[in-house]
Protein backbone atom coordinates (compact mmCIF):
# COMPACT_ATOMS: atom_id res chain seq x y z
CA UNK A 1 0.00 0.00 0.00
CA UNK A 2 2.71 2.48 1.04
CA UNK A 3 4.49 1.81 -2.22
CA UNK A 4 1.41 2.80 -4.17
CA UNK A 5 0.66 5.88 -2.11
CA UNK A 6 4.17 7.28 -2.04
CA UNK A 7 4.66 8.36 -5.69
CA UNK A 8 1.19 9.89 -5.87
CA UNK A 9 1.75 11.60 -2.54
CA UNK A 10 5.02 13.09 -3.71
CA UNK A 11 3.41 14.33 -6.91
CA UNK A 12 0.59 15.97 -4.99
CA UNK A 13 3.07 17.55 -2.62
CA UNK A 14 5.03 18.91 -5.54
CA UNK A 15 1.92 20.21 -7.30
CA UNK A 16 0.46 21.84 -4.21
CA UNK A 17 3.56 22.85 -2.33
CA UNK A 18 5.92 23.75 -5.17
CA UNK A 19 4.29 26.96 -6.36
CA UNK A 20 3.54 27.98 -2.80
CA UNK A 21 7.15 27.66 -1.70
CA UNK A 22 8.30 29.48 -4.78
CA UNK A 23 5.87 32.31 -4.06
CA UNK A 24 6.97 32.45 -0.46
CA UNK A 25 10.56 32.79 -1.59
CA UNK A 26 9.63 35.50 -4.11
CA UNK A 27 7.87 37.52 -1.46
CA UNK A 28 11.19 38.12 0.29
CA UNK A 29 12.95 39.25 -2.90
CA UNK A 30 13.56 42.80 -4.03
CA UNK A 31 11.69 44.41 -6.87
CA UNK A 32 13.80 45.29 -9.88
CA UNK A 33 12.13 47.22 -12.73
CA UNK A 34 14.50 45.64 -15.21
CA UNK A 35 14.71 42.01 -14.12
CA UNK A 36 11.39 41.87 -12.21
CA UNK A 37 13.25 40.84 -9.06
CA UNK A 38 16.57 40.45 -7.33
CA UNK A 39 17.50 37.66 -4.98
CA UNK A 40 17.26 39.04 -1.45
CA UNK A 41 15.85 38.40 1.96
CA UNK A 42 13.81 41.41 2.99
CA UNK A 43 10.52 42.03 4.78
CA UNK A 44 10.08 45.25 2.86
CA UNK A 45 7.27 43.95 0.66
CA UNK A 46 5.26 42.86 3.68
CA UNK A 47 5.97 46.09 5.50
CA UNK A 48 4.82 48.11 2.52
CA UNK A 49 1.58 46.16 2.17
CA UNK A 50 0.78 46.38 5.87
CA UNK A 51 1.57 50.06 6.29
CA UNK A 52 0.12 51.43 3.06
CA UNK A 53 -3.46 52.66 3.77
CA UNK A 54 -4.35 51.84 0.18
CA UNK A 55 -3.70 48.14 0.71
CA UNK A 56 -5.12 48.22 4.23
CA UNK A 57 -8.39 49.41 2.74
CA UNK A 58 -8.34 46.71 0.07
CA UNK A 59 -7.79 44.04 2.71
CA UNK A 60 -10.57 45.43 4.90
CA UNK A 61 -12.97 45.55 1.94
CA UNK A 62 -12.08 41.96 1.10
CA UNK A 63 -12.68 40.74 4.66
CA UNK A 64 -15.94 42.69 4.99
CA UNK A 65 -17.29 41.43 1.68
CA UNK A 66 -16.23 37.85 2.41
CA UNK A 67 -17.76 37.86 5.90
CA UNK A 68 -20.99 39.43 4.66
CA UNK A 69 -21.24 36.93 1.84
CA UNK A 70 -20.53 34.00 4.19
CA UNK A 71 -23.20 35.05 6.66
CA UNK A 72 -25.76 35.77 3.95
CA UNK A 73 -24.99 32.52 2.13
CA UNK A 74 -25.33 30.46 5.31
CA UNK A 75 -28.66 32.08 6.17
CA UNK A 76 -29.97 31.73 2.63
CA UNK A 77 -28.76 28.16 2.15
CA UNK A 78 -30.03 26.58 5.37
CA UNK A 79 -33.70 26.48 4.39
CA UNK A 80 -33.24 24.99 0.92
CA UNK A 81 -30.58 22.59 2.24
CA UNK A 82 -32.95 21.33 4.95
CA UNK A 83 -35.75 21.00 2.45
CA UNK A 84 -33.53 19.08 0.04
CA UNK A 85 -32.12 16.84 2.79
CA UNK A 86 -35.53 15.89 4.13
CA UNK A 87 -37.17 15.44 0.76
CA UNK A 88 -38.45 11.93 0.13
CA UNK A 89 -39.82 12.17 -3.38
CA UNK A 90 -38.10 10.93 -6.50
CA UNK A 91 -37.27 14.55 -7.36
CA UNK A 92 -34.60 14.62 -4.68
CA UNK A 93 -31.69 13.37 -6.78
CA UNK A 94 -32.76 15.48 -9.73
CA UNK A 95 -32.91 18.60 -7.57
CA UNK A 96 -29.50 17.79 -6.10
CA UNK A 97 -28.03 17.62 -9.58
CA UNK A 98 -29.83 20.84 -10.49
CA UNK A 99 -28.22 22.52 -7.48
CA UNK A 100 -24.83 21.41 -8.76
CA UNK A 101 -25.60 22.68 -12.26
CA UNK A 102 -24.35 26.27 -11.78
CA UNK A 103 -20.98 24.84 -10.72
CA UNK A 104 -20.52 23.45 -14.21
CA UNK A 105 -20.17 27.01 -15.47
CA UNK A 106 -17.15 28.96 -14.27
CA UNK A 107 -17.36 31.97 -12.02
CA UNK A 108 -16.31 34.34 -14.81
CA UNK A 109 -19.18 33.32 -17.04
CA UNK A 110 -21.66 33.56 -14.22
CA UNK A 111 -20.33 36.98 -13.21
CA UNK A 112 -21.02 38.05 -16.77
CA UNK A 113 -24.55 36.74 -16.29
CA UNK A 114 -24.98 38.99 -13.26
CA UNK A 115 -23.65 41.85 -15.39
CA UNK A 116 -26.52 41.29 -17.80
CA UNK A 117 -28.94 41.08 -14.92
CA UNK A 118 -27.86 44.22 -13.06
CA UNK A 119 -26.77 46.75 -15.69
CA UNK A 120 -28.81 49.91 -16.40
CA UNK A 121 -30.26 48.19 -19.45
CA UNK A 122 -30.23 44.80 -17.74
CA UNK A 123 -33.10 42.46 -16.95
CA UNK A 124 -34.03 43.94 -13.56
CA UNK A 125 -34.05 47.57 -14.69
CA UNK A 126 -35.83 46.69 -17.94
CA UNK A 127 -38.54 44.84 -16.05
CA UNK A 128 -39.04 47.56 -13.43
CA UNK A 129 -39.08 50.27 -16.11
CA UNK A 130 -41.45 48.27 -18.26
CA UNK A 131 -43.85 47.78 -15.36
CA UNK A 132 -43.68 51.50 -14.63
CA UNK A 133 -42.48 50.93 -11.08
CA UNK A 134 -39.49 53.20 -11.67
CA UNK A 135 -38.94 55.97 -14.19
CA UNK A 136 -35.13 56.12 -14.10
CA UNK A 137 -32.94 53.03 -14.22
CA UNK A 138 -31.48 52.13 -10.82
CA UNK A 139 -27.73 52.05 -10.28
CA UNK A 140 -27.28 48.39 -9.41
CA UNK A 141 -24.01 47.68 -11.10
CA UNK A 142 -20.59 48.83 -9.88
CA UNK A 143 -21.67 48.90 -6.26
CA UNK A 144 -20.44 46.77 -3.35
CA UNK A 145 -24.01 45.46 -3.21
CA UNK A 146 -23.68 44.09 -6.74
CA UNK A 147 -20.48 42.26 -5.82
CA UNK A 148 -22.03 40.75 -2.69
CA UNK A 149 -25.21 39.80 -4.54
CA UNK A 150 -23.32 38.03 -7.32
CA UNK A 151 -20.77 36.38 -5.02
CA UNK A 152 -23.53 34.96 -2.84
CA UNK A 153 -25.23 33.66 -5.95
CA UNK A 154 -22.04 32.00 -7.11
CA UNK A 155 -21.11 30.28 -3.82
CA UNK A 156 -24.65 29.33 -2.79
CA UNK A 157 -24.60 25.85 -4.39
CA UNK A 158 -21.48 24.84 -2.42
CA UNK A 159 -23.17 25.84 0.81
CA UNK A 160 -26.48 24.15 0.02
CA UNK A 161 -24.82 20.88 -0.94
CA UNK A 162 -22.49 20.83 2.07
CA UNK A 163 -25.31 21.61 4.50
CA UNK A 164 -27.74 19.18 2.90
CA UNK A 165 -25.38 16.25 3.23
CA UNK A 166 -24.83 16.96 6.93
CA UNK A 167 -28.53 17.54 7.67
CA UNK A 168 -29.31 14.29 5.89
CA UNK A 169 -27.12 12.46 8.37
CA UNK A 170 -29.16 13.77 11.33
CA UNK A 171 -31.95 11.27 12.03
CA UNK A 172 -35.35 12.84 11.64
CA UNK A 173 -36.47 11.05 14.81
CA UNK A 174 -34.12 13.25 16.81
CA UNK A 175 -36.05 16.29 15.62
CA UNK A 176 -39.32 14.51 16.30
CA UNK A 177 -38.09 13.68 19.80
CA UNK A 178 -37.55 17.38 20.49
CA UNK A 179 -41.10 18.19 19.40
CA UNK A 180 -42.46 15.29 21.43
CA UNK A 181 -40.68 16.60 24.51
CA UNK A 182 -42.38 19.96 24.08
CA UNK A 183 -39.97 21.97 21.94
CA UNK A 184 -41.59 24.44 19.57
CA UNK A 185 -40.14 24.42 16.06
CA UNK A 186 -37.85 27.42 16.70
CA UNK A 187 -36.55 25.90 19.94
CA UNK A 188 -36.01 22.52 18.32
CA UNK A 189 -34.13 24.28 15.53
CA UNK A 190 -31.71 26.14 17.79
CA UNK A 191 -31.29 23.45 20.45
CA UNK A 192 -31.10 20.37 18.27
CA UNK A 193 -30.76 21.00 14.56
CA UNK A 194 -28.22 23.83 14.73
CA UNK A 195 -25.77 22.10 17.09
CA UNK A 196 -26.05 18.84 15.19
CA UNK A 197 -25.58 20.48 11.80
CA UNK A 198 -22.76 22.67 13.08
CA UNK A 199 -20.01 20.62 11.41
CA UNK A 200 -21.77 21.20 8.10
CA UNK A 201 -22.26 24.89 8.77
CA UNK A 202 -18.59 25.28 9.64
CA UNK A 203 -17.36 23.26 6.67
CA UNK A 204 -19.67 25.13 4.30
CA UNK A 205 -18.90 28.53 5.80
CA UNK A 206 -15.14 27.93 5.68
CA UNK A 207 -15.34 26.86 2.06
CA UNK A 208 -17.50 29.84 1.14
CA UNK A 209 -15.34 32.28 3.11
CA UNK A 210 -12.21 31.07 1.34
CA UNK A 211 -13.90 31.33 -2.05
CA UNK A 212 -15.10 34.86 -1.24
CA UNK A 213 -11.72 36.03 0.09
CA UNK A 214 -10.22 34.98 -3.22
CA UNK A 215 -13.03 36.26 -5.44
CA UNK A 216 -11.56 37.61 -8.63
CA UNK A 217 -13.98 37.89 -11.52
CA UNK A 218 -16.94 39.22 -9.56
CA UNK A 219 -15.24 42.27 -7.99
CA UNK A 220 -13.51 42.97 -11.26
CA UNK A 221 -16.61 42.81 -13.44
CA UNK A 222 -19.31 44.04 -11.08
CA UNK A 223 -17.47 46.24 -8.58
CA UNK A 224 -16.38 49.01 -10.85
CA UNK A 225 -13.01 50.80 -10.90
CA UNK A 226 -13.31 52.23 -7.37
CA UNK A 227 -14.02 48.87 -5.79
CA UNK A 228 -10.90 46.89 -4.89
CA UNK A 229 -10.41 43.45 -3.49
CA UNK A 230 -7.30 41.41 -2.83
CA UNK A 231 -7.28 38.86 -5.64
CA UNK A 232 -7.46 41.45 -8.43
CA UNK A 233 -4.83 43.50 -6.58
CA UNK A 234 -2.47 40.52 -6.55
CA UNK A 235 -3.09 39.95 -10.22
CA UNK A 236 -2.37 43.61 -10.93
CA UNK A 237 1.04 43.39 -9.26
CA UNK A 238 1.99 40.32 -11.23
CA UNK A 239 0.56 41.16 -14.64
CA UNK A 240 0.48 44.93 -14.84
CA UNK A 241 3.05 46.34 -12.41
CA UNK A 242 5.33 43.33 -12.92
CA UNK A 243 6.25 43.61 -9.26
CA UNK A 244 6.41 39.91 -8.42
CA UNK A 245 7.87 40.21 -4.94
CA UNK A 246 5.16 42.63 -3.83
CA UNK A 247 2.45 40.59 -5.54
CA UNK A 248 3.71 37.46 -3.77
CA UNK A 249 3.70 39.28 -0.43
CA UNK A 250 0.12 40.43 -1.01
CA UNK A 251 -0.85 36.88 -1.92
CA UNK A 252 0.70 35.57 1.28
CA UNK A 253 -1.00 38.19 3.40
CA UNK A 254 -4.30 37.16 1.81
CA UNK A 255 -3.51 33.52 2.49
CA UNK A 256 -2.52 34.06 6.12
CA UNK A 257 -5.50 36.28 6.90
CA UNK A 258 -7.84 33.73 5.32
CA UNK A 259 -6.32 30.83 7.24
CA UNK A 260 -6.33 32.69 10.56
CA UNK A 261 -9.89 33.99 10.23
CA UNK A 262 -11.20 30.59 9.11
CA UNK A 263 -9.65 28.65 11.97
CA UNK A 264 -10.36 31.24 14.66
CA UNK A 265 -13.92 31.75 13.40
CA UNK A 266 -14.65 28.01 13.26
CA UNK A 267 -13.37 27.30 16.73
CA UNK A 268 -15.21 30.26 18.27
CA UNK A 269 -18.51 29.21 16.67
CA UNK A 270 -17.93 25.56 17.53
CA UNK A 271 -17.31 26.43 21.18
CA UNK A 272 -20.33 28.66 21.39
CA UNK A 273 -22.86 26.19 20.01
CA UNK A 274 -21.45 22.80 20.87
CA UNK A 275 -22.75 22.63 24.42
CA UNK A 276 -26.30 21.28 24.71
Amino acid sequence: MAKLVLPAGLLVLLLLGGPMLLMLRYSFNEYDPLYIMQQAFTFENYAKAVVDPYYQKILMTTITVALTCTVLTTLLAYGPAYWLARMESRWKSKLTILTMFPLLVGGVVRSAGYLALLSTTGLINATLLGLGIISEPLTLLYTPGAVIFATVGIVLPYMILTLASVIESIPRQVEDAAANLGARPATAFFRVLVPLSLPGVLAGASLVFILCMNAYATPLLLGGPQFQMMAPAVYEQFAKASNWPFGAALAFILLMVTVILTTVGSSVIAKRYKAG
Binding site: Q173, D176, A177, N180, L181
Partner: protein
Protein backbone atom coordinates in the same frame (compact mmCIF):
# COMPACT_ATOMS: atom_id res chain seq x y z
CA UNK B 1 -57.64 10.04 35.47
CA UNK B 2 -55.80 9.56 32.24
CA UNK B 3 -57.16 8.14 29.06
CA UNK B 4 -56.64 7.86 25.35
CA UNK B 5 -59.47 7.44 22.90
CA UNK B 6 -59.30 6.94 19.18
CA UNK B 7 -62.55 7.23 17.30
CA UNK B 8 -62.84 6.03 13.71
CA UNK B 9 -59.36 7.26 12.91
CA UNK B 10 -58.29 6.90 9.28
CA UNK B 11 -55.04 7.80 7.57
CA UNK B 12 -54.36 7.84 3.88
CA UNK B 13 -51.02 8.69 2.31
CA UNK B 14 -52.23 9.86 -1.08
CA UNK B 15 -54.15 6.88 -2.38
CA UNK B 16 -52.56 4.38 -0.01
CA UNK B 17 -54.56 3.60 3.10
CA UNK B 18 -52.32 3.15 6.14
CA UNK B 19 -54.98 3.00 8.87
CA UNK B 20 -58.76 2.62 8.51
CA UNK B 21 -61.50 3.09 11.03
CA UNK B 22 -59.35 2.59 14.08
CA UNK B 23 -61.12 2.92 17.41
CA UNK B 24 -59.78 2.13 20.83
CA UNK B 25 -59.85 3.22 24.41
CA UNK B 26 -57.04 3.09 26.94
CA UNK B 27 -57.66 3.78 30.62
CA UNK B 28 -55.38 4.97 33.42
CA UNK B 29 -52.50 2.62 34.09
CA UNK B 30 -53.31 0.27 31.26
CA UNK B 31 -50.78 -1.03 28.80
CA UNK B 32 -52.33 -1.68 25.43
CA UNK B 33 -50.33 -3.26 22.63
CA UNK B 34 -50.83 -2.63 18.95
CA UNK B 35 -49.83 -5.91 17.43
CA UNK B 36 -49.58 -6.84 13.80
CA UNK B 37 -47.27 -7.71 10.95
CA UNK B 38 -44.85 -5.16 9.55
CA UNK B 39 -46.55 -2.45 7.49
CA UNK B 40 -50.00 -2.88 9.03
CA UNK B 41 -50.15 0.71 10.31
CA UNK B 42 -48.93 0.45 13.90
CA UNK B 43 -46.31 3.17 13.77
CA UNK B 44 -48.66 5.44 11.83
CA UNK B 45 -51.25 5.03 14.60
CA UNK B 46 -48.65 5.81 17.25
CA UNK B 47 -47.46 8.85 15.33
CA UNK B 48 -51.02 10.09 15.05
CA UNK B 49 -51.38 9.91 18.81
CA UNK B 50 -48.09 11.78 19.27
CA UNK B 51 -49.17 14.38 16.72
CA UNK B 52 -46.64 13.77 13.96
CA UNK B 53 -49.23 12.53 11.51
CA UNK B 54 -52.60 14.20 11.16
CA UNK B 55 -55.48 11.76 10.73
CA UNK B 56 -57.37 12.00 7.44
CA UNK B 57 -60.56 11.60 9.48
CA UNK B 58 -61.70 10.61 12.94
CA UNK B 59 -60.68 12.05 16.28
CA UNK B 60 -58.16 11.45 19.04
CA UNK B 61 -58.84 12.42 22.64
CA UNK B 62 -56.35 12.48 25.49
CA UNK B 63 -57.88 12.77 28.97
CA UNK B 64 -61.15 13.64 27.25
CA UNK B 65 -59.67 16.61 25.38
CA UNK B 66 -59.75 16.54 21.59
CA UNK B 67 -56.11 16.73 20.44
CA UNK B 68 -56.63 15.70 16.83
CA UNK B 69 -55.37 19.01 15.45
CA UNK B 70 -52.76 19.80 18.09
CA UNK B 71 -49.04 19.92 17.28
CA UNK B 72 -46.77 17.35 18.97
CA UNK B 73 -45.37 19.95 21.40
CA UNK B 74 -48.88 20.86 22.51
CA UNK B 75 -49.63 17.31 23.70
CA UNK B 76 -48.23 15.74 26.83
CA UNK B 77 -47.24 12.41 25.32
CA UNK B 78 -43.88 10.70 25.72
CA UNK B 79 -42.76 8.71 22.73
CA UNK B 80 -39.89 6.27 23.10
CA UNK B 81 -38.58 5.83 19.58
CA UNK B 82 -37.55 2.52 18.14
CA UNK B 83 -34.12 4.05 17.51
CA UNK B 84 -34.26 5.81 20.94
CA UNK B 85 -33.50 9.15 19.21
CA UNK B 86 -31.44 10.53 22.09
CA UNK B 87 -29.84 13.91 21.43
CA UNK B 88 -26.25 12.96 20.59
CA UNK B 89 -24.82 16.34 21.60
CA UNK B 90 -26.29 16.25 25.09
CA UNK B 91 -25.35 14.18 28.11
CA UNK B 92 -27.81 11.67 29.53
CA UNK B 93 -28.78 14.19 32.21
CA UNK B 94 -29.29 16.93 29.63
CA UNK B 95 -31.38 14.59 27.52
CA UNK B 96 -33.59 13.75 30.46
CA UNK B 97 -33.81 17.39 31.54
CA UNK B 98 -34.73 18.65 28.05
CA UNK B 99 -38.49 18.13 28.36
CA UNK B 100 -38.55 19.78 31.79
CA UNK B 101 -36.61 22.71 30.39
CA UNK B 102 -39.23 23.06 27.65
CA UNK B 103 -41.82 23.18 30.43
CA UNK B 104 -39.87 26.01 32.08
CA UNK B 105 -38.95 23.98 35.16
CA UNK B 106 -36.13 25.64 37.16
CA UNK B 107 -32.63 24.24 37.09
CA UNK B 108 -32.54 22.83 40.61
CA UNK B 109 -35.88 21.05 40.30
CA UNK B 110 -34.92 19.84 36.84
CA UNK B 111 -31.75 18.21 38.11
CA UNK B 112 -33.54 16.65 41.05
CA UNK B 113 -36.28 15.18 38.86
CA UNK B 114 -33.83 14.00 36.21
CA UNK B 115 -31.76 12.12 38.75
CA UNK B 116 -34.89 10.62 40.24
CA UNK B 117 -36.02 9.40 36.82
CA UNK B 118 -32.55 8.06 36.05
CA UNK B 119 -32.54 6.21 39.36
CA UNK B 120 -35.79 4.54 38.34
CA UNK B 121 -34.05 3.06 35.32
CA UNK B 122 -30.79 2.47 37.22
CA UNK B 123 -28.81 4.90 35.10
CA UNK B 124 -28.05 7.68 37.60
CA UNK B 125 -24.39 6.69 37.71
CA UNK B 126 -24.06 7.42 33.96
CA UNK B 127 -25.79 10.78 33.90
CA UNK B 128 -22.71 12.62 32.59
CA UNK B 129 -22.12 10.26 29.70
CA UNK B 130 -23.01 11.02 26.10
CA UNK B 131 -25.39 8.65 24.32
CA UNK B 132 -22.62 7.23 22.12
CA UNK B 133 -20.85 6.10 25.29
CA UNK B 134 -23.81 3.91 26.31
CA UNK B 135 -24.77 0.38 25.28
CA UNK B 136 -28.02 -0.20 23.42
CA UNK B 137 -29.83 -1.25 26.57
CA UNK B 138 -28.57 1.78 28.47
CA UNK B 139 -29.58 4.09 25.65
CA UNK B 140 -33.05 2.66 25.80
CA UNK B 141 -33.26 3.20 29.55
CA UNK B 142 -32.12 6.79 29.06
CA UNK B 143 -34.90 7.22 26.47
CA UNK B 144 -37.40 5.76 28.94
CA UNK B 145 -36.23 8.13 31.66
CA UNK B 146 -36.45 11.07 29.28
CA UNK B 147 -40.13 10.25 28.80
CA UNK B 148 -41.19 9.31 32.28
CA UNK B 149 -39.61 12.33 33.94
CA UNK B 150 -42.40 14.37 32.31
CA UNK B 151 -45.24 12.42 33.91
CA UNK B 152 -46.85 12.16 30.48
CA UNK B 153 -50.56 11.65 29.86
CA UNK B 154 -49.74 8.83 27.49
CA UNK B 155 -46.57 6.81 27.24
CA UNK B 156 -45.89 5.63 23.70
CA UNK B 157 -43.45 2.81 22.97
CA UNK B 158 -42.49 1.94 19.40
CA UNK B 159 -41.09 -1.59 19.18
CA UNK B 160 -39.19 -1.13 22.45
CA UNK B 161 -37.35 -4.44 22.31
CA UNK B 162 -36.58 -4.74 18.62
CA UNK B 163 -33.08 -3.24 18.82
CA UNK B 164 -31.93 -5.38 21.74
CA UNK B 165 -30.29 -8.76 21.65
CA UNK B 166 -32.30 -11.79 22.65
CA UNK B 167 -30.76 -12.14 26.09
CA UNK B 168 -31.50 -8.57 27.08
CA UNK B 169 -35.00 -8.68 25.70
CA UNK B 170 -36.57 -10.71 28.48
CA UNK B 171 -34.93 -8.53 31.10
CA UNK B 172 -36.04 -5.27 29.52
CA UNK B 173 -39.52 -6.66 28.98
CA UNK B 174 -40.11 -7.18 32.67
CA UNK B 175 -38.34 -3.94 33.53
CA UNK B 176 -40.62 -1.90 31.27
CA UNK B 177 -43.72 -3.70 32.49
CA UNK B 178 -42.59 -3.21 36.11
CA UNK B 179 -42.06 0.53 35.63
CA UNK B 180 -45.33 0.88 33.79
CA UNK B 181 -47.25 -0.85 36.56
CA UNK B 182 -45.58 0.81 39.52
CA UNK B 183 -45.94 4.29 38.00
CA UNK B 184 -49.37 3.48 36.56
CA UNK B 185 -48.30 4.75 33.18
CA UNK B 186 -51.06 4.82 30.63
CA UNK B 187 -49.25 3.19 27.75
CA UNK B 188 -49.68 2.38 24.10
CA UNK B 189 -47.03 0.00 22.82
CA UNK B 190 -46.37 -1.05 19.26
CA UNK B 191 -44.89 -4.43 18.45
CA UNK B 192 -44.86 -7.05 15.75
CA UNK B 193 -43.74 -9.68 18.24
CA UNK B 194 -46.66 -11.61 19.64
CA UNK B 195 -44.74 -12.94 22.61
CA UNK B 196 -43.84 -9.40 23.62
CA UNK B 197 -47.46 -8.34 23.29
CA UNK B 198 -48.89 -11.34 25.13
CA UNK B 199 -46.54 -11.08 28.09
CA UNK B 200 -46.56 -7.32 28.59
CA UNK B 201 -50.05 -6.05 27.85
CA UNK B 202 -53.32 -5.66 29.65
CA UNK B 203 -55.07 -5.53 26.31
CA UNK B 204 -54.09 -6.18 22.74
CA UNK B 205 -55.26 -4.62 19.53
CA UNK B 206 -54.45 -6.89 16.65
CA UNK B 207 -54.11 -5.09 13.32
CA UNK B 208 -53.78 -6.25 9.80
CA UNK B 209 -53.52 -4.10 6.65
CA UNK B 210 -54.56 -0.93 8.46
CA UNK B 211 -57.58 -2.23 10.32
CA UNK B 212 -58.30 -3.84 13.66
CA UNK B 213 -58.95 -7.56 13.43
CA UNK B 214 -59.66 -8.15 17.10
CA UNK B 215 -59.02 -6.50 20.44
CA UNK B 216 -59.19 -7.83 23.95
CA UNK B 217 -57.04 -9.50 26.57
CA UNK B 218 -54.32 -11.94 25.60
CA UNK B 219 -56.59 -14.74 26.76
CA UNK B 220 -59.50 -13.50 24.64
CA UNK B 221 -57.37 -13.44 21.53
CA UNK B 222 -55.71 -16.74 22.25
CA UNK B 223 -58.76 -18.69 23.24
CA UNK B 224 -61.44 -17.00 21.19
CA UNK B 225 -59.81 -15.77 18.01
CA UNK B 226 -62.31 -13.98 15.83
CA UNK B 227 -60.84 -15.29 12.62
CA UNK B 228 -58.13 -17.47 11.17
CA UNK B 229 -55.68 -14.55 10.95
CA UNK B 230 -55.98 -13.90 14.67
CA UNK B 231 -55.74 -17.60 15.45
CA UNK B 232 -52.49 -17.90 13.58
CA UNK B 233 -50.96 -14.58 14.63
CA UNK B 234 -51.59 -14.92 18.33
CA UNK B 235 -49.82 -18.00 19.60
CA UNK B 236 -49.69 -19.72 16.21
CA UNK B 237 -52.21 -22.15 14.91
CA UNK B 238 -52.54 -24.80 12.31
CA UNK B 239 -55.06 -23.24 9.95
CA UNK B 240 -56.52 -25.84 7.65
CA UNK B 241 -58.86 -24.84 4.85
CA UNK B 242 -61.91 -26.91 4.01
CA UNK B 243 -65.66 -27.06 4.65
CA UNK B 244 -68.30 -28.91 6.62
CA UNK B 245 -69.71 -32.03 4.99
CA UNK B 246 -72.23 -34.23 6.77
CA UNK B 247 -71.54 -32.39 10.03
CA UNK B 248 -67.81 -33.10 9.77
CA UNK B 249 -64.94 -30.90 8.61
CA UNK B 250 -63.42 -32.07 5.37
CA UNK B 251 -60.13 -30.52 4.26
CA UNK B 252 -59.68 -29.38 0.67
CA UNK B 253 -57.69 -32.53 -0.04
CA UNK B 254 -60.52 -34.69 1.23
CA UNK B 255 -59.38 -35.77 4.71
CA UNK B 256 -62.11 -35.79 7.36
CA UNK B 257 -61.00 -34.20 10.61
CA UNK B 258 -62.37 -34.99 14.09
CA UNK B 259 -65.22 -32.54 14.64
CA UNK B 260 -67.60 -31.91 17.50
CA UNK B 261 -71.23 -32.45 16.60
CA UNK B 262 -73.21 -29.31 15.76
CA UNK B 263 -70.40 -27.51 13.93
CA UNK B 264 -71.37 -24.23 12.25
CA UNK B 265 -72.28 -25.07 8.69
CA UNK B 266 -70.33 -22.22 7.06
CA UNK B 267 -66.99 -22.97 8.73
CA UNK B 268 -64.06 -22.65 6.34
CA UNK B 269 -61.07 -23.02 8.62
CA UNK B 270 -60.18 -25.75 11.06
CA UNK B 271 -57.76 -24.22 13.57
CA UNK B 272 -55.75 -26.12 16.09
CA UNK B 273 -52.86 -25.02 18.30
CA UNK B 274 -49.63 -26.99 17.81
CA UNK B 275 -49.25 -27.54 21.54
CA UNK B 276 -52.73 -29.10 21.83
CA UNK B 277 -51.76 -32.03 19.64
CA UNK B 278 -50.11 -35.16 20.95
CA UNK B 279 -47.81 -37.18 18.77
CA UNK B 280 -47.08 -40.88 19.07
CA UNK B 281 -45.62 -43.73 17.04
CA UNK B 282 -48.75 -45.81 17.08
CA UNK B 283 -52.17 -45.94 18.62
CA UNK B 284 -55.29 -43.97 17.91
CA UNK B 285 -55.41 -40.80 15.91
CA UNK B 286 -54.89 -39.33 12.50
CA UNK B 287 -52.15 -40.92 10.44
CA UNK B 288 -49.32 -38.86 9.07
CA UNK B 289 -45.68 -38.78 8.00
CA UNK B 290 -42.97 -36.90 9.85
CA UNK B 291 -41.61 -34.19 7.55
CA UNK B 292 -39.34 -32.26 9.86
CA UNK B 293 -38.19 -32.21 13.44
CA UNK B 294 -36.87 -29.02 15.04
CA UNK B 295 -35.10 -29.32 18.36
CA UNK B 296 -35.75 -26.13 20.37
CA UNK B 297 -34.27 -27.22 23.68
CA UNK B 298 -37.07 -27.73 26.15
CA UNK B 299 -39.51 -28.17 23.30
CA UNK B 300 -39.46 -29.97 20.01
CA UNK B 301 -41.45 -28.90 17.01
CA UNK B 302 -42.58 -31.52 14.52
CA UNK B 303 -44.07 -30.96 11.10
CA UNK B 304 -46.30 -33.80 10.06
CA UNK B 305 -47.86 -34.33 6.67
CA UNK B 306 -51.47 -35.49 6.81
CA UNK B 307 -52.84 -35.92 3.31
CA UNK B 308 -51.84 -32.73 1.54
CA UNK B 309 -51.74 -30.70 4.73
CA UNK B 310 -48.75 -29.90 6.93
CA UNK B 311 -49.54 -29.82 10.63
CA UNK B 312 -47.22 -28.36 13.26
CA UNK B 313 -46.98 -30.08 16.60
CA UNK B 314 -45.09 -28.73 19.60
CA UNK B 315 -44.36 -31.00 22.54
CA UNK B 316 -41.99 -31.09 25.44
CA UNK B 317 -38.79 -32.64 24.15
CA UNK B 318 -39.12 -36.39 24.77
CA UNK B 319 -36.71 -37.99 27.23
CA UNK B 320 -34.24 -40.72 26.13
CA UNK B 321 -36.61 -43.57 27.07
CA UNK B 322 -39.51 -42.07 25.19
CA UNK B 323 -40.58 -43.97 22.07
CA UNK B 324 -40.62 -40.66 20.17
CA UNK B 325 -36.99 -39.85 20.92
CA UNK B 326 -35.74 -41.90 18.00
CA UNK B 327 -38.22 -40.61 15.43
CA UNK B 328 -36.77 -39.90 12.01
CA UNK B 329 -38.01 -37.90 9.10
CA UNK B 330 -40.22 -40.15 6.97
CA UNK B 331 -41.48 -42.24 9.90
CA UNK B 332 -45.21 -42.86 10.22
CA UNK B 333 -46.75 -41.10 13.22
CA UNK B 334 -50.16 -40.66 14.79
CA UNK B 335 -51.63 -37.36 15.85
CA UNK B 336 -54.36 -37.01 18.41
CA UNK B 337 -56.11 -34.04 19.95
CA UNK B 338 -59.06 -33.15 22.05
CA UNK B 339 -61.81 -32.11 19.66
CA UNK B 340 -62.82 -29.42 22.15
CA UNK B 341 -59.62 -27.54 21.48
CA UNK B 342 -60.47 -27.17 17.80
CA UNK B 343 -61.90 -23.86 16.64
CA UNK B 344 -63.87 -23.73 13.44
CA UNK B 345 -63.80 -20.27 11.91
CA UNK B 346 -65.61 -18.90 8.94
CA UNK B 347 -63.19 -16.24 7.84
Amino acid sequence: MKSLELENVCKKFGEAVAVTDMSMHILTGELVSLLGPSGCGKTTTLRMVAGFVEPSSGSIRINGRDVTKLAPYERNTALVFQSYALFPHMTVAQNVGFGLEMRKVGKAEREEKSIEALKRVRLDHLSDRYPRQLSGGQQQRAALARGLVLNPDIFLLDEPLSNLDAKLRGEVRSEIRGLQQSLELTTLMVTHDQEEALTMSDKLVLMEAGSVRQSGTAQDLYEQPADAFVADFVGRSNVIKGRIEDGKFRTTDGTFMPTLPGAVADAQYYTLRPEKISLSREGDGVEGTLLERLYLGAQTEYTVRVGETSISVVTATPGPDDMRAGLRVGDAVRLAWDVASVRLLNN
